[in-house]
Symmetry: D5
Subunit: 141 residues, 10 copies
Amino acid sequence: MAKRGSHGLETFPNPNPQRDYVIRHVAPEFTSRCPMTGQPDFGSVMIEYVPDRLCVELKSLKLYLQAFRDEGIFYEAVTNRILDELVAVLRPRWMKVETRWNPRGGMHSVVTAEHRQAARGRTRQVSVERENRLRAGGPSR
Amino acid sequence: MAKRGSHGLETFPNPNPQRDYVIRHVAPEFTSRCPMTGQPDFGSVMIEYVPDRLCVELKSLKLYLQAFRDEGIFYEAVTNRILDELVAVLRPRWMKVETRWNPRGGMHSVVTAEHRQAARGRTRQVSVERENRLRAGGPSR
Amino acid sequence: MAKRGSHGLETFPNPNPQRDYVIRHVAPEFTSRCPMTGQPDFGSVMIEYVPDRLCVELKSLKLYLQAFRDEGIFYEAVTNRILDELVAVLRPRWMKVETRWNPRGGMHSVVTAEHRQAARGRTRQVSVERENRLRAGGPSR
Amino acid sequence: MAKRGSHGLETFPNPNPQRDYVIRHVAPEFTSRCPMTGQPDFGSVMIEYVPDRLCVELKSLKLYLQAFRDEGIFYEAVTNRILDELVAVLRPRWMKVETRWNPRGGMHSVVTAEHRQAARGRTRQVSVERENRLRAGGPSR
Amino acid sequence: MAKRGSHGLETFPNPNPQRDYVIRHVAPEFTSRCPMTGQPDFGSVMIEYVPDRLCVELKSLKLYLQAFRDEGIFYEAVTNRILDELVAVLRPRWMKVETRWNPRGGMHSVVTAEHRQAARGRTRQVSVERENRLRAGGPSR
Amino acid sequence: MAKRGSHGLETFPNPNPQRDYVIRHVAPEFTSRCPMTGQPDFGSVMIEYVPDRLCVELKSLKLYLQAFRDEGIFYEAVTNRILDELVAVLRPRWMKVETRWNPRGGMHSVVTAEHRQAARGRTRQVSVERENRLRAGGPSR
Amino acid sequence: MAKRGSHGLETFPNPNPQRDYVIRHVAPEFTSRCPMTGQPDFGSVMIEYVPDRLCVELKSLKLYLQAFRDEGIFYEAVTNRILDELVAVLRPRWMKVETRWNPRGGMHSVVTAEHRQAARGRTRQVSVERENRLRAGGPSR
Amino acid sequence: MAKRGSHGLETFPNPNPQRDYVIRHVAPEFTSRCPMTGQPDFGSVMIEYVPDRLCVELKSLKLYLQAFRDEGIFYEAVTNRILDELVAVLRPRWMKVETRWNPRGGMHSVVTAEHRQAARGRTRQVSVERENRLRAGGPSR
Amino acid sequence: MAKRGSHGLETFPNPNPQRDYVIRHVAPEFTSRCPMTGQPDFGSVMIEYVPDRLCVELKSLKLYLQAFRDEGIFYEAVTNRILDELVAVLRPRWMKVETRWNPRGGMHSVVTAEHRQAARGRTRQVSVERENRLRAGGPSR
Amino acid sequence: MAKRGSHGLETFPNPNPQRDYVIRHVAPEFTSRCPMTGQPDFGSVMIEYVPDRLCVELKSLKLYLQAFRDEGIFYEAVTNRILDELVAVLRPRWMKVETRWNPRGGMHSVVTAEHRQAARGRTRQVSVERENRLRAGGPSR
């Protein structure tokens, strides 16, 4: 049933496209490399989305995230790239990606980005909500 | 007092239909099977609703959820199906179902779906709130 | 200073009626009986309110809640009844009652009901907020 | 630099009056006496405010709160009185006082009051927010 | 790639300026000195922002925060100064700085300040949100 | 299979009497009454034992503990009485009963008693261990 | 490399038999059925051992534990049976099995059993330690 | 039944003197004053003992501890004095007093002292155990 | 000062060899690969030792552990190998290595091994303690 | 009353020298510098001792620990040095110092050292206990 998209990501048809509902996958074992020092970075990746016609298949998502293991990439860039690549394959109604990183130099970091489908007459709410979103994403240490 | 609906779900009359109030049942012992591998999946099911004329009887709800024990079904599908079947029996003013799944392949997942009664002149708020809902349902890891 | 109302609930005058402020009492030792089986149920009761002219006296509230010890009553009914009886005595500007119940049959439950004073020109906000309230009361397991 | 106000509370000029920002002080060692029984009560006091021209000096705040050690006063009254006295000295743009009390008779209590500066053309938002505030201040047990 | 700004803070170009997203860095090892007594203060600093054209480089941020180690400065002042200096270098679309301080004299404190880019036609939302912000920044003890 | 002993406690044959192993049952919903004031007390009861020829049946144990609901009895007495009555029925190789009580008057209490089978040539170890036991049972608040 | 033993349990040679070391596997997703009511029980199984010549292969252990899914068996019996069957296959120097069960009727239970290799001149310590073990296995609620 | 001893401490006869068992009372609301500065200190007091012929009555213990409210006394001295005075009244087989103090100057402290009945031929174990005790009382931060 | 040993591990002279003291390093970011499937495994490594003449330098230890990133190795083998290689370089008086692994197939695992210096007349205690060790290493889930 | 010893540490006479009891001070705000890089290190220092004739005065202990703020020193060395210097001043019957360090390079560390008074005929127990100590000081992550 699953179909292969780019980056090896496989999809299957959303079983309930008539309803907006939220799927969240959390991968607490993400690792990539610092592009400056080559040292490994460790963190977790949270992917949350409202599917449109497609859902992502879990095993292919795991393999997709594992492929960053030897890649040198900044926190900000990897977060936006995962969002862009998943959006390109799934075309979700809404998607958020949040990466949380283990301490380096005594500091720990979180990067959060989200995407919203332009169509479906929701443009007005989108801008309001994006603002709310940015605010509401505050720290819950 | 209880009446039997479909899927063995029994109901009793809402003792306070004049007031909107919220009932939440959490079943942390849910288990079904992966439709791909046949392996057991484990998770918890949260059902939250504003009753209209009927409330669900707890023991019949427990048995209803136990009936998934040997069923092969995806996370996304089981969440929407529980919502659909409970809505069909209870006709609640509002209902949300959230399933939280133990890690598989290093990733854990959450699926959240909700239903709102169409009538009662609340259509405008509904769309606004559904949007808010989807956003506010963010991860509280 | 305290005056006796119905159900043995005593009250004292709100020392700061000119200001809307919130009082919350949590009784984690509530017990009643299941009306079906006669078995004891255990839970906690949270009462939160904005007083108008009267506040509830704590010791009488404790005794009032203890009086459910031998009563057979459903979760939904006891929650609404505590709300109704306290509202009748205190006439608060706003009140919420939330009961949280220990697991039975592997499931634990929460029931939440609230009341709002009709007067004081707040009718419009009330309906909006009640909606928000119902939504925002989601699970924080 | 500090100036003495009433109740021994000292103040210093807000170093950044051009910006609305929030200061929170939490005193988890508050003790007073029950006015009925004379028994000591224990709790914590949280004071949160947006300063206007003055900030409260911490040591004088500590001494101010210690002065309740031998005073017999109800939960509701002490919360409102701390708010009133601090508002009289600091004239803040906004202030909230929340007291949380150790269990007595098996129940624990929280009282929350807030004040908002009338001026500065914020009257409309104030009423909306006060409503939101009262609602959003729900229990996070 | 990084460029040096004032206070030794280095920056690099935002890799995704077309999208509003949030970066948060938390430094739990902050220490400065009390300007009254010279005694060391200990706390954590949280910096959260929506980048415009520039992101802050992490190592230079660490060194910038370490430079307060021997400085005598009040909680309120250090919070606003970190915000001002980072805003001057990064010109972010939005930024919040929150400092949380270890107990002194039995009290612990939190100071929260934020900045918002004036331009980009967002002025109306800004004022509403700033209000929401101040309210929503309540204690989560 | 189960046989009824005194106090309604039912037993079943230990399926593995050839091996010393430990069974622990924790009942967090225990309630009795203070013999001085008649006020309800709430706590939890932990029963841990090494069975000899008999194990206690869970449902009868639940009913046995529920029978204290209307009894006026001190913490120290109820702990020793539960131990004595279970020992009389089960004749275990070793048994410990620990009761933990909710705060009254700002203090919470724990009472721990244990029994050891006299026979089986273990007398020497017993005295040494009882000493160790008393020591090792220290608070793990 | 792995060899199949009874009950489908596969083993591989202990890579470091010259050293006593401890392996612990925790399976928090165990489910069986109550032999009285047929209702599902849920719990976790902890297996800890000092290998002699063989280690258990993880996937076969998972499948072995899944096989209890439809079996009706008491807490005490299932704990001892898992211990007996693993000992028969692995012949470990020491092994402990502990099962922890979700609440039923308001009570939760733990059963702990262990086995020790008779040979290797350790008989004296064994009896002392078994005693210590029984004692030290106290509740850490 | 209770008899008044010195310092207002009342006692009642140990209902089970034939058995060594442990009673623990924890008072988390202790306050005294620093003998140097007169500032209030806050902490908790844990009293644990094996009764001989007498048990301490809870309400009189609460009042005894409250009497330190206005006393200036060091951590080390108050801990030993509570132990001495309770031993003088109760003559327990064994007793331990542990005080835990809120941070002052960034440091928090714990003081632990214990007493053992000289008689009853337990002198040898006592010295060994006291040693073990001192060691085992390590920090569990 | 540091000298390079095998596997790139560097050492420096123990500054206090006259005293037995304990050093513990915990690396929560360990990753290797499953030798069966090639899939990445994630866990933490705890190294605890009493140094004799040498201590391990932290940065070289970090690099040593990172070198397992692309190695296919079983839990049991990697634990013993880290112990063996560190013992060969440091010749400690005592060392323990414990690896804790993220769940795979619903199970999580812990492997613990330790080494003790043969010389210094401690042979008798060693055997007793090794036994204690194995027992005391029980689960603290 | 206090007398000044070396390193500015002040002492006062042990009020209860006839009894072995334990005093613990925890300073969670310790900071020094890495002797290799000059970067600040952050950690906590725990000091636990059985006083003989002298106790350490808390304020002088705070100042003593603050004096490491600008010192470059290894984890192992600072732990042993604090122990040596406190022993030289206090001559305690027993003392333990434990330092816990924030993560550096993804690893966090703990160093534990203890001292025991040679005299008082306790030499035999000492060696046994030191062994036990080293073992029992295992990780409680």
